[in-house]
Symmetry: C2
Subunit: 419 residues, 2 copies
């Protein structure tokens, strides 16, 4: 907070004071980016902050956050999720090392808790009573959860196709859940109208620039967990584009303030049926496309802020790839079987993209990569059910069990010791 110098429009470059004049650029309607006095944030000052106790892991990075970590904060323990080094995926994919960051272990089950924590902190610090957003699910539950943790009301707009688990979680958190009988775009538009009319705090990731600031803490953590090194590549799935933008900004800032020596290349991964940003990255033009994928967290036809995403990937020297739903399904099983991680389809898409990037020669065998698992598989069991096999049904009799195992899983019978 103390180091924020300006909000700068990423479209027209207009610059505003450190107190946001509005969520978007008053001059052109563009999305704003929060700038810090990077000269004043020395590597030493940034690292010193990490040693001080903080109410939750992510608030330790206070030197580069746009809220006052001494002020009221949501009471959820966000961040501090595991980074698994040297997973079997390295050998499987033929890479030097593949590590996995399990951000599905955040309190409400996704990386979006990082963004919502900053948003609810900002809302609290501005005296807002109600926070609102439109979301395919994870932003919604994280927003409702962070709000509930401090007794703030939340109004959540969800599209018709939001999975049941996500709706139930919202209701348990006491959110007012508005299911818009339409797609994500319609839910987003209605939320924007209502937020403006009722004066609620706006947690929409594409509009409100503080969201990227929360998301960037996952990059800080990955680097910190590597001893302030970075991998060659970081693979992140892309829907609205804000997560990859946040990850990119985090790594860029670490190098800018001198904590790390370099930045990783970003691998932005979209579903082939929802490839608006990937196509705009490749061909230019407006980012619009379909929303045809079972990975509902990235099923975004009209991303509201593709620009930050595209610029982040470009600035990192990275790439974007597209993957099919089949590839995503295979990646879910691979993460489960090789790493014991149950990722939601949108999260597994990042691994599917890494597999594709290796096949396409984008990522080279001598390189290292980190896959960011952005959401917990328990949030979308129907998605997992498409790819995972069902159980072996048996009556409670050993002879029958033996017959069925011999057919379905003979390998577990190979170590018979007593017969």
């Amino acid at each position: 907070m103390r180091n924020v110098t300006a909000l700068k429009c990423i479209s027209c470059s207009a610059s505003y004071g450190s107190v946001p004049p509005a969520y978007i650029c008053p001059a052109c309607g563009g999305v704003l980016d929060i700038e810090y006095d990077y000269g004043a944030v020395s590597a030493g000052a940034f690292l010193d902050g990490l040693a001080r106790p903080a109410p939750a892991h992510m608030w330790r990075y206070s030197a580069l956050l746009p809220v006052d970590v001494g002020g009221p904060l949501p009471r959820l323990s966000v961040g501090g999720t595991p980074l698994y080094r040297r997973t079997p995926l390295g050998e499987e994919l033929g890479l030097c090392e593949v590590m996995v960051k399990d951000d599905g272990l955040n309190p409400t089950g996704s990386l979006k808790d990082r963004a919502s924590a900053v948003a609810v902190a900002a809302a609290l610090q501005q005296g807002a009573k109600t926070v609102s957003c439109a979301s395919t699910g994870n932003a919604a539950s994280s927003c409702a959860g962070c709000a509930a943790s401090v007794g703030m009301r939340s109004v959540i707009f969800v599209p018709r196709r939001a999975p049941q688990a996500k709706l139930v979680q919202l209701a348990v958190f006491g959110a007012v859940v508005v299911r818009v009988l339409g797609d994500y775009e319609q839910a987003f538009s209605l939320s924007a109208e209502a937020i403006s009319v009722y004066g609620w705090y706006n947690r929409n990731a594409a509009i409100n620039p503080v969201m990227v600031e929360g998301k960037k803490t996952v990059a800080f953590e990955i680097a910190e967990q590597m001893g302030w090194e970075v991998p060659d590549w970081v693979a992140v799935s892309v829907g609205d584009g804000c997560t990859v933008a946040g990850v990119g900004k985090g790594f860029w800032e670490l190098q800018r303030v001198g904590v790390t020596a370099r930045q990783p290349k970003l691998l932005g991964v979209q579903a082939r049926g929802a490839n608006a940003i990937s196509r705009a990255f490749r061909e230019g033009g407006e980012a619009r496309g379909g929303a045809d994928t079972f990975a509902d967290s990235i099923a975004v036809a009209v991303p509201r802020n593709p620009r930050k995403a595209i610029e982040a990937v470009r600035r990192s020297g990275g790439a974007m790839v597209e993957v099919s739903d089949d590839e995503i399904g295979r990646a879910m099983l691979r993460l489960g079987r090789s790493c014991a991680l149950f990722a939601e389809p949108a999260a597994a898409a990042a691994l599917a993209g890494l597999v594709a990037a290796v096949e396409q020669g984008i990522v080279a065998p001598h390189e290292t990569a980190c896959v960011v698992v952005t959401g917990n598989g328990l949030k979308d069991v129907a998605g997992a059910e498409r790819v995972a096999g069902g159980p072996i049904d048996v009556p409670p009799e050993l002879a029958e069990l033996e017959r069925r195992l011999a057919e379905a899983a003979p390998e577990v019978m190979s170590c018979t010791t007593l017969r």
Copy 2:
């Protein structure tokens, strides 16, 4: 490992060397308990161990664990879950303080990861290739996950009523899932038979004494997070009885080695429709009962090891209470709305029990309590759906939204700024 002195039968008191002769007492078939040389484990030695780096949070407590933490271990980051202090529940229940330990944030979503981590470590260290258990769900997914993390096979026996989310998670982890067309008791019996015939490593919590050793680490963590203090009460839901036994052993050991000055009283909570242990606690006799509750993780008609549970609660000076499914449902909503925690029904039962214990005068207003949330609500969404309201469906039009909100949630419209 280095401090294990004996395995002692809790039924006939026979004592065996530190290498288990079998999972159960060869003399009488009773359940074994692992004993340590508590004289050799000074408080200083225990605390020194915490400062040394460990592959995951729970392995830091190596002085009181029955596996070699320098040897092969499952590659999941178990433990280190948040303890939320001074939650609004204190004021709501009229207690000095109510804190909540969110063990649903373990890698596969439940406290049972602690037990499975120790079991898979023991299996690895004994050279086992396959691990097996019967479980209503959480033990199963944690067993499959810990096994998958090190490429070990798992064979999981589930009863017919296991919720879908839990089966899907098992399949993603690559477990061989045997759905026994019967109840938990039948699944357990068939697993015991098969484990014996095929020589698999036995992860059944009630039989294998290492399970309690993993579960006790949640007690170590609560005390550590309180600066080596303990609450007056710790509320834990009870199914098979091993979790409450583990929690009790952990707190008992901390006092035994001189790290804490006292032990908390245990509040064991059962569902009224599945109250085998609670009834045996009250009336004596064999622990048998129904399994009639929507809290499937504690729907156990024939607990295989009630004795450790009952003795742990007695030794702590605690109590057992029973709660209805309605009370459990209300506790789920209370946890969600006051603490932003989405707990599975069996986990919310612990809070429901604390509410009942306050009403019954068992827990007094000047006392402090910790509620252990043993599993994530995302694992059993159908349970939550019973208690949480549905969304407000609206077409994508502001006028219609306004009409519906005025009916369903007028409070969020009270801060209108523009009209």
